[in-house]
Point group: C2
Chain length 156, copies 2
Amino acid sequence: MSYAEQALAVLKARGYRITRPRRRVLELLQGAEGALSIQEIKELLDRAEEPVDMVSVYRIVDCLEDNALVHRVLSTGKIRRCDLENEAHCHREQHDHCHHNLICRECGSITELHCPGLDTLQDEVARQTGFHIEEHNLEFLGLCPRCAAREGDFRA
Amino acid sequence: MSYAEQALAVLKARGYRITRPRRRVLELLQGAEGALSIQEIKELLDRAEEPVDMVSVYRIVDCLEDNALVHRVLSTGKIRRCDLENEAHCHREQHDHCHHNLICRECGSITELHCPGLDTLQDEVARQTGFHIEEHNLEFLGLCPRCAAREGDFRA
DNA sequence: ATCATTGCAAACCGTTTGCAGCCTT
DNA sequence: AAGGCTGCAAACGGTTTGCAATGAT
């Protein structure tokens, strides 16, 4: 099942209505490599087909965020679809949704990490500082393998 | 040397002028437990002594940020003084200033971590994904030891 | 004396709110 | 048929810009 279908199913199950603007936003996010700003979402939708109101985009994104179907990228505030498929593999509770992202500064693509060695690190930090850690935000920025290879080409 | 003095010295060395508003913002940040929003900075300054214009606060904070004397907390956008004293201990380049914070949701205090086991984790992630990591953002949210103890009291 | 910096007013822009009409259920 | 959702207009609030006055060097 595709991301958009899965997300729509979640909304439906929770009593939301499946509207054309909601479907279109979800499909757009499904196709997007990285994350999109609210403005980018509006522009892309307007360009593709009949326009969607800016206010509606705000409300749709809010709704998707409330239902943990999208999240905001920490460093940019842009909107990204959640990785619904693999989220179950993550050993955290629902609400503590972890989004550890590898963000390519070149192509903007985002690779999601699903709780790597961070738990160990977190335990270690907690032990050393006595801090009671409830949540964490982690983001790596750099170059994805493809862009890193391309950048290598320039120098060659 | 105190934070404010140190920061002013940096500005002076770089050709900026040492003005009263700049000094006052730095002293305020020096005394603050956690991070302050632009609005909080303005209010606190107004309350303490003669008022400072909102616009000036914006410009002063921009200046301090440009010179790596303050940074914004990732999750809240609030302003925090950089830990100039201990920054040298961090094995990273100047521009890659790391701000790994432990933020107490109760009292708002912030404890800075200086590159703990993260480098190992980062290497591991890089190895597994092929991603060329240039920068990272890490933030832990929870309770500081003191607030955690107090919260324990309530339950007892 | 010079020129960076401040303060004030106004512009700007992203986001939110209210409400009527539409469309999903 | 009912009411959630959208679109439009207007309000709102945080941030930026222009410019004259001030103050640091």
